[in-house]
């Protein structure tokens, strides 16, 4: 079961790190609990937390560095290994084939749920993207200086790596119920990663704000995905009743038992709700600004880069093949939502001053493009959408990392008004940023250009009027991307700006990501070729 190794390796590393850290830490410093006991207090009461909190905090910082580094180091090793495995799968992928490296075990026989994983043309590059971004984020967190590392590394890395496993599982799942399981599961680690204050020295907003943001994030996302749960079960049950056979949730078997048009339509809406929230698309993006502000930026790199893609991937891999009539029926609605996301996201991206939110709203716009491509319901659109998913992930993660670097140079502020003039002393950083910015605005020659071109081509064939309006999004993208670049790097030097060149360790995170952007720009055919057959298969049943 080689794919299981890829999926569970990260989580195993996270858990192992937590265990080892606990074991190693116990030998050095007496565990915090006995400390109050030594002061003649019983453990029974509210555990004089405050009295012992500052010393305990200090103890935790000083507690043998080596023990506290274990989880991070193991997580980095695990994520790099996962990346290596993913590269292996990409290299091994045979274009045009069906599902490869299939793992198929019955998980819950009474419910007909299989533990079925496979590499397909749709997920092979997304798996690569996931492992790449998680490795980059793990590296970035590990390279942080001593003070701003996660205060509780065991929990942080446990959740971080569990998140990677869940996302990989969602991409690889070939069983509808298993997909739902992973889809919901990936929210839990992000709930903790967002809500817990990992860096008490530099808190991200007040505690109340953060807790509110996390609850908003989870409720929005789970509302969607619970509806999806009901719809998924209904799909399995109705298909079984129609086929007269035993209930199953395996995607390929479900595809062979198409539902009636009426069922497809309501089920489509339930699935769409889940995926549109996750992306997020325009009317359902309410959790996004708060959530983006509350997350540590390394976590946000993977969240923005990867999790939004699970929604888009769900449309391509599940909704279009299983509910083609539903998709066709709601095509116009979905295109309008996509259009609204593009216009709204772009408009907000160039009015925001918080650099994170510029990235956040630009993601809304970019995901709008991706939705547009998917619901063009033709091969060009879908191919462009798939390519753009990879592109957006590759672009947004370095962009957010650059925001982190900029804020370090602007006195800790992520407000573009506090930045400016950084390029003057940091030409390398500026050039790297420029590459990312140009890729974001899809300059001809970039892979993003190819993606957007294909999407618009697809939409032109489907709905001319929508394509014409969507073009404005391309223009607006250049406005917000260049605005961010100019405000941060050029203009007058900000009041508290301390311009420095990029350090080697930051470069170690940024350069590989940008190298991949450049490589894909030089040869987008590499991705297009491998996904072509799979993409065509998803829309072949659209009426």
């Amino acid at each position: 079961m080689p794919l299981s190794i890829l999926v569970w390796l990260p989580a195993a590393c996270g858990a192992l790190g937590a265990i080892l850290c606990t074991l190693a830490g116990r030998g050095h410093v007496p565990a915090p609990a006995p400390a109050p006991a030594a002061e003649q207090t019983t453990v029974i009461d509210s555990d004089p937390s405050a009295a012992s909190l500052p010393p305990r905090g200090a103890a935790e910082l000083s507690r043998s560095d080596s023990a506290m580094r274990i989880p991070g180091a193991l997580a980095l090793a695990g994520s790099l290994l996962a990346l290596a495995l993913a590269i292996g799968y990409i290299a091994d992928y045979k274009a045009g084939g069906g599902p490869q490296h299939v793992t198929d075990v019955v998980w819950i026989s009474s419910l007909g749920i299989h533990y079925k994983l496979a590499i397909t043309g749709l997920n092979v590059f997304l798996v690569g993207l996931t492992t790449l971004l998680f490795a980059a984020a793990a590296l970035a967190t590990n390279l942080r200086d001593e003070r701003s590392r996660p205060a509780n590394p065991r929990l942080f890395w446990l959740f971080f790596m569990l998140a990677e496993s869940a996302v990989l599982g969602a991409f690889l799942a070939q069983d509808l119920a298993l997909f739902v399981v992973f889809f919901d599961l990936m929210l839990i680690p992000f709930y903790f990663l967002t809500g817990i204050d990992w860096d008490p020295a530099h808190p991200r907003g007040t505690r109340e704000e953060r807790v509110k943001a996390t609850i908003k994030l989870v409720i929005y996302t789970l509302v969607g995905s619970l509806l999806m749960l009901a719809a998924a079960i209904a799909t399995g049950v109705l298909a079984a009743q129609q086929g007269g056979g035993h209930i199953t949730f395996v995607l390929s078997s479900l595809q062979a038992l198409p539902l009636s048009t009426g069922s497809q339509e309501w089920i489509f809406l339930f699935f769409a709700a889940a995926f549109l929230v996750k992306m997020p698309a325009f009317p359902l993006h309410g959790w996004m600004p708060d959530g983006y502000r509350a997350m540590p930026i390394e976590v946000l790199m993977v969240f923005s880069g990867v999790l939004s893609k699970v929604g888009a991937y769900g449309f391509l891999a599940i909704v279009l093949p299983l509910f083609p009539q539903g998709a066709a029926h709601f095509q116009t609605l979905m295109l309008l939502i996509a259009l609204a996301s593009i216009v709204y996201g772009s408009a907000l991206a160039f009015t925001q001053t918080d650099a994170r939110l510029i990235a956040g709203y630009s993601s809304v716009a970019q995901l709008g493009f991706i939705t547009l491509g998917i619901f063009a319901l033709n091969p060009q659109g879908a191919q462009g959408a798939l390519l753009q998913m990879v592109n957006h992930g590759l672009v947004v993660a370095p962009l957010l990392f650059i925001v982190l670097l900029l804020s370090q140079r602007a006195g800790g502020s992520e407000d573009v008004r506090a930045m400016g003039g950084i390029a003057f002393r940091a030409p390398v950083l500026a050039s790297l940023f420029l590459i990312v910015a140009l890729a974001t605005l899809a300059i001809p020659g970039s892979s993003n250009f190819v993606g957007e071109f294909l999407i618009l081509l697809g939409v032109f064939k489907a709905k001319l009027a929508i394509a014409i309006i969507a073009f404005s999004g391309v223009v607006m993208a250049s406005v917000y991307a260049l605005r961010l670049f100019i405000r941060a790097m050029h203009n007058r030097v900000g009041s508290s700006v301390d311009s420095r060149e990029i350090s080697i360790r930051d470069g170690a995170v940024l350069v590989p990501l940008i190298a991949v952007i450049v490589l894909l720009a030089l040869y987008p055919q590499f991705a297009l070729h491998r996904s072509e057959a799979a993409v065509k298969a998803t829309i072949v049943r659209i009426p």
């Binding site: 565990a31 509210s46 405050a50 009474s110 419910l111 599961l185 839990i188 619970l226 009901a230």
Partner: protein, 537 residues
């Protein structure tokens, strides 16, 4: 004259429980304090163990005993296992509880065992008389148990409230049973079913009135809306271990009888009661979940949550298929685990903080969990898992249970009820997540510098030495006992604090919830034969 044949083997679990209750009561009369405080609970556990062993001994039985009054089949046996597990957890939670000390250990545990006996009787009741006897045997000890913290007003209030409302429920049910007897002339479930099908009585007004009254009566017991109003008050007032027992065991027994009575005796009238109960289920899901929002007491919150969970489980009754029965029983098993983990944490916290400590923190308030993730991971993790499971998050058994219930609802043609379940789950996030947030995302209150004259920081050393006096309330008799208990407290595990058995329950129940979420097959094997035992499709 030869007496009727008695199948003692089939009766043996019941005999063990009720006979054990008598023995425990007598042992409780012995003088030595350690006998009362340690031997009685240990003996109670032994009795439960014996009942469990006898249940497993009967595992493949399929028979009617006591001239058809009781039925020993896999539904009864599986529910027995679930009930015994819930009872054993309760004994552990009550090991050092004030309630058991105030009311006398022998009495407390004997009442507990006879209540479990009543539930076991109810789970296998095959005629309306046995049903009613079981229900009363379950209820009357519970009324008393609620009031066992005799010096606390709320506990007495809770017992009285439960007594009055429970009696109304019992009376309603009895009316209903009498009317069904009047209409069909039978008390036996299968005879009722035959009468309903052969004589076209299924739509007879007398039958329908009887069914309606039975629904109402059982809904009181299962706390199904709109008959749930007693639940939050009684849950909040009762001693926490008793609340835990009520929350899980009563629900198991009430839904067990729902399954057997409605899906066997009244199956012919399914067309009349099905839609009505479905609507009740939907209302219950809504009322329970909305009611739980904004509760600051964990016990009240879990009370409303248990109302909502009853609504989910009714979905399995409504569809009246083998799949529905299995889904309900599976969810019941999961429900016991999830709730036991949560209640164990509440018990532990209540004892650590005291029911009402001078700083105004209430032991069962959500505030009392603040900073728990950092301070007490062995309590925080089970609570986290329990909340996630109750909300139905994957990788916990709660997800599997909900999945199965929705599956059953959709297969039975009640897709809208499946959607109601997920909408209920959505609302439920609004109150489960703040609990998790309190544990992991907020510091213990002292760290925030609570406004107020004496945050625990300043006065920490003094009150902690005397944490037990807080626990012991205002009773001189108990103050006397306190030092001894304090001594026991010192010897506890450093990790588990002073109450290893409570932490054990929390960790075991939480661990099992997680385990069955990943590897659910054992649960499915457990409930496999339940549906066919009732003769459903």
């Amino acid at each position: 004259m030869k007496g009727p044949y008695v199948d003692f083997a089939g009766l043996s679990p019941l005999i063990a429980l009720l006979g054990g209750a008598a023995i425990v009561l007598l042992v409780g009369l012995l003088g030595a304090r350690w006998v009362r405080a340690q031997a009685v609970p240990a003996l109670t556990l032994a009795v439960l163990g014996a009942a469990l062993g006898l249940t497993i001994w009967q595992w493949n039985a399929q028979k009617s005993i006591v001239s058809g009054a009781l039925r020993i089949d896999s539904l009864a046996l599986v529910l027995n296992v679930v009930l015994i597990a819930g009872g054993a957890c309760t004994v552990l939670l009550a090991w050092r509880a004030l309630a058991a000390r105030e009311s006398g250990h022998g009495e407390f545990h004997a009442l507990l065992l006879s209540s479990i006996g009543g539930m076991s009787l109810l789970a296998s009741a095959q005629n309306t008389v046995a049903l009613f006897v079981g229900l009363e045997l379950l209820s009357i000890p519970l009324y008393v148990l609620c009031a066992t913290e005799m010096r606390r007003e709320h506990s007495l209030e809770s017992g009285l409230k439960y007594l009055i409302i429970g009696s109304v429920g019992s009376a309603t049910l009895l009316y209903g049973l009498a009317m069904i007897y009047g209409a069909t002339g039978a008390t036996d479930f299968s005879a009722i079913a035959t009468a309903l099908s052969s004589n076209g009585l299924a739509t007879d007004p007398l039958t329908l009135t009887g069914i309606a009254l039975c629904v109402a009566g059982l809904c009181f017991k299962a706390s199904v809306a709109p008959f749930h109003q007693w639940t939050p008050d009684v849950y909040e007032g009762a001693p926490t271990p008793v609340t835990a027992f009520m929350a899980v065991a009563t629900k198991v027994a009430a839904l067990g009888v729902f399954l057997r009575f409605f899906d066997v005796a009244l199956i012919e009238a399914h067309a009349s009661w099905g839609p009505a109960v479905a609507v009740l289920a939907a209302i219950t899901i809504l009322v329970g979940n909305v009611g739980a929002l904004g509760q600051s007491s964990l016990k009240r919150m879990l009370a409303y949550s248990s109302v909502a969970q009853a609504g989910y489980m009714l979905a399995g009754v409504v569809v009246a298929t083998a799949l529905g029965v299995q889904a309900t029983v599976l969810y019941l098993a999961v429900y016991v685990l999830m709730n036991m983990a949560a209640f164990a944490v509440i018990v532990a916290r209540e004892r650590e903080i005291g029911a009402h400590d001078p700083d105004g923190r209430v032991g069962d308030s959500i505030e009392s969990l603040r900073g728990l993730g950092r301070e007490r991971p062995y309590l925080a993790w089970p609570m986290t898992i329990s909340m996630l499971a109750l909300a139905g998050i994957p990788a916990t058994a709660g997800f599997i249970g909900k999945f199965y219930l929705i599956d059953a609802a959709v297969s039975g043609g009640y897709t809208w009820l499946g959607v109601a379940i997920v909408i209920g789950s959505m609302i439920s996030l609004g109150y489960y997540l703040p609990v998790i947030a309190a544990m992991w995302m907020r510091e213990a209150p002292a760290g925030e510098g609570l406004p107020g004259p004496s945050p625990p920081t300043a006065s920490a050393p003094e009150p902690t030495v005397g944490a037990l006096p807080v626990l012991a309330g205002g009773s001189p008799e108990l103050d006397e006992q306190a030092p001894a208990n304090g001594g026991a407290a010192e010897t506890g595990f450093p990790i588990a604090g002073s109450q290893p058995e409570v932490v054990l329950v929390a960790v075991l129940a939480g661990g099992a919830t997680l385990f069955f979420g990943v590897i659910p097959q054992p649960l499915f094997n457990l409930v496999h034969g339940v549906g066919s035992a009732l003769g459903l499709l």
